[in-house]
């Protein structure tokens, strides 16, 4: 295991036998997959299957217990020296996370900051971008997500769909090379789901590498390059979305899809 070669240059995320324990509970039981640069991968599966945990491992919000995980050729959360893995200092881990955008199910916008301030906070404080530049970029991003007139609104004054679009703009402001979406539309009213999916679709068409945990099969079918079905901590089935959705091979996939489609 320790001698594994670093992944090829066109691979953005490479996961090899990733396991995650919470105490004695094994939540991920050896996840192996690759996500190429510019690829959109949808992770689907029943709740408790480990999809969100896996997503959180990719930017080291959770520490993996076994296996190896690389993002852009760099080991996540650990450094390898002298054939041993060393825990990564918090500062180093923070630098790794800068380039990985994350969008949460519950938006997690900063309530004490306006939409604009939510977007400019990290670029100015973490990357040292000049305030004027950060504001210009933030306005441009707000335009991109379709809400140029909401810069001064506080999150509590926005609808769920608007909040999630600001959250996407906030993540994009760090110019990430990879975007992680953790059930981005699950907390939204049905009529607001579309506006968020539209922004994500537009992002995918722009060539962003994305991993999306979702229950929106329509989105997976239309936008994703690959679909991974997880259950009970393992990858059950994966492949081209249309073929997996229309012609699942495994019984568990069939059972799951018959309930959500």
């Amino acid at each position: 295991m320790t001698g594994s070669p670093p992944p090829a240059a066109d691979v953005m995320v490479r996961s090899e036998q990733v396991c995650k324990y919470f105490g004695a509970l094994e939540v991920l039981k050896g996840i192996s997959l690759n996500v190429n640069r510019g690829e959109v991968m949808c992770l689907v599966g029943p709740s408790g299957s480990g999809k969100s945990t896996f997503l959180r491992c990719i930017n080291h919000l959770e520490q993996i217990s076994a296996g190896r995980l690389w993002v852009d050729g760099e080991l996540v959360g650990y450094t390898e020296r002298g054939g041993r893995l060393h825990e990564m200092p918090a500062k180093h881990a923070a630098v790794q996370r800068r380039d990985i955008g994350m969008v949460f199910q519950k938006f997690n916008l900063f309530p004490h900051l306006t939409a604009l301030e939510n977007i400019t906070e990290a670029p100015t404080r973490v990357k040292g971008v000049k305030k004027v530049e950060a504001i210009a970029r933030a306005n441009q991003l707000l335009e991109q997500v379709g809400m140029p007139d909401k810069a001064k609104a506080y999150p509590a004054q926005l609808s769920g769909g608007q909040q999630q679009r600001v959250a996407i703009a906030r993540a994009l402001a760090m110019d990430p090379k990879l975007m992680l979406f953790d059930e981005p539309t699950s907390a939204l009213d049905p009529e607001l789901v579309g506006e968020v999916l539209d922004v994500m679709k537009q992002l995918a068409q722009g060539g962003m590498t994305m991993i999306v945990v979702t229950h929106e099969m329509g989105f997976a079918r239309e936008v994703a390059d690959s679909l991974v079905f997880m259950d009970a901590g393992v990858v059950v089935e994966s492949g081209e979305p249309r073929s997996v959705l229309s012609d699942p091979k495994h019984e568990r996939t069939k059972a799951f899809l018959s309930k959500v489609l």
Binding site: A94, R98, F104, K106, H112, E121, V126, M174
Partner: protein
């Protein structure tokens, strides 16, 4: 309008802006509330009676009150009270934040020590603690600086190091820091976990996310009880006579009543000064609370509502 029992003719179905124009705004006859009026009059009469009694009762001796209210000895003592309050609170907040962070840290030793500190200083009366601090110079006659049991560099006489004033500051701030640490801890715990997570996902360090994301939100919970504590501290300074320190407001007012042979007007003088300071602190608290509650409510400010109403009257949609 029409005869009783007959339902009103159904209006033609039309939108608010249809040919029929907008429906009239409701101008209902207000409900009478005699109970409110009676209660208000009753309370006002009682207040007036009390004010009349206070003004005419010679025991209050308002003449003496007026003469001593701005007496220099009193205003100086009020200055001591205020400086004791500010200094003690300043150190209490710093120590309180440190204790709260220790309590929330994963290190079991730091956790236990912080818990023990709060247990002791919150669990014994402030008056007893102040008497103890007054006896510090008796308990520890000198402080030796050096390596324990090996070598000593310097001996310091505690009596010359600590004046009664500083012993009072130490006593008040250590006691208060126990309460402050619980307030800060509650504030930090009240911030949703997702906030720190979102900050970390953006590449923020622990200290940056604490300073910029967690603490500003915790402040909304921390400030009201801290204002309480500050006002409470102002009044607790009257206990430092236990140290003993007698240059603050209450002790000075008591001492001056020897001159007037009547303690009552002097108590009123002291109370007036306490109320004056408290009122100023309350104004400060109001503005602090308003600042830190920004974004907390989905209610819009009058300005924002006006802007939306203007947009609406221009025919735009919301």
């Amino acid at each position: 309008m029409s005869s009783v029992g007959e339902p009103p003719a159904a209006p033609a179905v039309e939108g608010r802006d249809g040919p029929g124009g907008q429906p009239e705004l409701i101008k209902a006859v207000p409900l009478r509330r005699p109970g409110r009026l009676i209660a208000a009059v009753l309370v006002l009469v009682l207040l007036a009676l009390f004010a009349y009694g206070a003004a005419t009762n010679s025991a209050y001796d308002w003449g003496t009150f007026g003469r001593y209210l701005f007496d220099q000895r009193i205003s100086k003592a009020a200055g001591v009270t205020l400086s004791l309050t500010v200094l003690a609170m300043f150190f209490a907040i710093i120590l309180g934040v440190i204790l709260a962070v220790m309590r929330l840290s994963p290190n079991p030793v730091l956790k236990a020590v912080a818990w023990g500190f709060v247990w002791f200083f919150r669990g014994t009366p402030i008056y007893v603690q102040l008497v103890f601090w007054g006896l510090l110079v008796v308990i520890y006659k000198q402080i030796d600086l050096g390596i324990p049991f090996v070598v000593q560099f310097a001996h310091i006489n505690t009596g010359s190091l600590f004046t009664a004033y500083w012993l009072a500051v130490i006593g008040l701030s250590l006691n208060e820091s126990a309460y402050m640490s619980e307030i800060v801890r509650a504030g930090i715990s009240s911030v949703d976990e997702g906030q720190e997570e979102a900050a970390r996902a953006l590449g923020m360090s622990w200290s940056l996310s604490t300073r910029r994301i967690v603490l500003p939100q915790a402040m909304r919970v921390i400030i009201p009880p801290t204002g309480n504590e500050l006002i409470s501290m102002l009044k607790t300074t009257s206990l430092v006579i236990a140290v003993p320190l007698t240059s603050e407001l209450y002790s000075r007012a008591r001492d001056l009543s020897v001159e007037t042979f009547n303690p009552i007007p002097m108590l009123l003088v002291a109370s007036a000064w306490y109320l004056f300071f408290t009122s100023i602190l309350m104004v400060g608290q109001f503005y602090l609370e308003r600042y830190f509650s920004r974004g907390a409510s989905r209610k819009m400010s009058a300005k924002q509502l006006q802007a939306l109403a203007n947009a609406q009257s221009l025919g735009g949609h919301i």
